[in-house]
């Protein structure tokens, strides 16, 4: 049976790793390549890397960072931020990314999503939708949460599915970095209305939050940043990731990936 994917999200600013609260007050956390290496040792299901200022600076993510992360890891990872053309997607995939994330460009460049899905296959293209609640109504924001679009997230999700998105990453800006749990209403609105997989993001602070999203909203994957980067009330930077046993407290056994760390080849892997 297909397992739940528990995905750390790393926010990049060029070569730096940062974490925000409600998409604001970025705090420098460290080096993304080191972080990716540590997450690789934790045997994470997948990693998502998003350069949060790339769109504003009108550039793609740093290709060299992607190359180094690919060299340091043997897990699937997805890269996004400022992607506006097919060539950039090709460069990122060539650098070792498995999939790419489109966000602002889905709204601004009409045929990019369709063309990229045709070229690289649907499973390569994740569409990310950042949502804020304004006067009780959900609204899509682009440019790293800075620009209001007036779009309804469900409309955009359906359009993305029709144009070739392989997966939707739905993020609640209001919950980002708060550790208060996912916005299940928002997530469910999307999962109920698309047939492609959906990744929930924004607000997870415990394994229970992950399981609640998985079992109550029908997402295929649960992503989080702060929960895996900070430890304790003072938010000390410390990378953690739930063990198989910790997941099994809240998830059914058939939904938890069996990690296989006890093989002799382990030694070889740790040499990475």
């Amino acid at each position: 049976m297909l397992k739940v994917r528990v995905i750390p999200v790393l926010l990049l600013r060029h070569w730096g790793l940062e974490k925000t609260i409600q998409f604001a007050n970025p705090k420098y956390v460290g080096c993304p390549i080191n972080a990716a290496r540590v997450f690789n040792q934790h045997n994470v299901d997948e990693l998502i890397l998003l350069d949060i200022v790339a769109t504003l600076e009108n550039r793609p993510p740093e290709i060299e960072v992607v190359k180094q992360i690919s060299a340091e890891t043997s897990m699937p990872f997805t890269v996004g931020g400022g992607i506006r053309d097919i060539n950039t997607i090709r460069e990122l995939l060539n650098a070792g990314a498995d999939r790419v994330v489109l966000n602002t460009s889905v709204v601004e460049i009409p045929d990019l999503l369709q063309k990229s899905a045709e070229q690289f296959g649907r499973q390569c293209i994740v569409v990310s939708i950042d949502v804020r609640r304004i006067n009780g109504k959900y609204e899509v924001f682009t440019h790293g949460g800075r620009k209001s679009t007036g779009l309804n997230p469900l409309e955009l999700a359906k359009r993305a599915e029709a144009e070739g998105a392989g997966e939707i990453l739905i993020t609640s800006i209001d919950r980002d970095g708060t550790l208060e749990g996912y916005d299940l209403d928002l997530i469910k609105m999307v999962t109920d209305n698309v047939q492609i997989p959906v990744i929930a993001c924004g607000g997870a602070g415990s394994v229970k939050d992950l399981a609640d999203a998985y079992y109550q909203s029908g997402v295929s994957a649960v992503a989080c940043g702060a929960f895996f980067l900070f430890y304790g009330p003072r938010r000390t930077v410390l990378i953690t990731y739930p063990t198989e046993e910790q997941l099994l407290e809240y998830f059914k056994p058939e939904h938890v990936r069996k990690r296989d760390p006890k093989k002799p080849i382990d030694l070889e892997l740790s040499r990475l």
Binding site: K3, S74, N94, R122, P197, S220, D260
Partner: protein, 224 residues
């Protein structure tokens, strides 16, 4: 530990070709084999293949364009000779596995025809409401004993998948690995010198590294 060092020394004797359909990322597959210490050549034009101990067909792009590419550069004929006449080992990964079949619905193209099955879109086979593409980690269950690619692993190991097309289960010769997603499909294939995986061993941590070493052990056996 000692065993591993011996394995790695042995690997140095192996020379493999990774076929590049010019569709993009073969970086991960290259890296996974490079780590094993084998010597690797990227092949993207008509080349004498006999010198290689094994060939890897990686999993990037779409079936139609990959087959067009192989035919256009004259590699289809070379590959057929290598696999069917010389009977040397070949490993197809994801799309590379799919093009070894008879026919793919993706682009409606004839494959290399080495495995007597067809590739279908998941939605055309599974009528229950599942999400497509199939992305993530799933179990691989051995259908017939004697699957050397999985030797040394836990029972029903998990591997990483990312695909919209698959090979629905069909009773065929060879050792099969089966995965469930709305229905049973063939996720691992091993028959004589032909090996295929629907999942990505190069993205599946230790399990994937073990599988690749198991394949290299088969290559060494075939060589001696």
């Amino acid at each position: 530990m000692v065993l591993m060092i011996m394995e790695n020394t042995q690997n140095k004797k192996i020379k493999i070709a990774i076929i590049d359909y010019s569709a993009g990322n073969i970086h991960s597959v290259y890296k996974a084999f490079a780590k094993k210490g084998v010597s690797i050549e990227i092949v993207n034009k008509e080349t004498e293949l006999d010198v290689f101990d094994a060939i890897v067909l990686p999993g990037v792009g779409a079936c139609g364009s990959a087959m067009d590419f192989l035919t256009k550069v004259g590699l289809t004929r070379r590959l057929n000779y290598y696999v069917l006449e010389l009977k040397k080992p070949v490993l197809g990964i994801c799309l590379g596995f799919q093009i070894m079949t008879e026919f793919s619905e993706e682009g409606k193209v004839k494959g290399l025809g080495w495995i007597p099955v067809n590739v279908c879109h998941i939605r055309n086979v599974v009528k229950s409401p599942i999400r497509v593409p199939h992305i993530g980690w799933n179990d691989v269950r051995v259908y017939r004993e004697g699957m050397s690619l999985l030797s040394g692993m836990i029972e029903n190991p998990n591997f990483y998948f990312a695909h919209s097309y698959f090979v629905p289960f069909k009773e065929i010769d060879g050792n099969l690995g089966i995965t469930e997603y709305g229905t049973s499909f063939i996720s691992l294939y091993q028959s004589k010198n032909i090996y295929g995986t629907q999942f990505h061993p190069e993205k599946s941590y230790i399990g994937g590294a073990v599988l690749i070493q198991n394949f290299l052990n088969e290559v060494l056996n075939a060589k001696s």
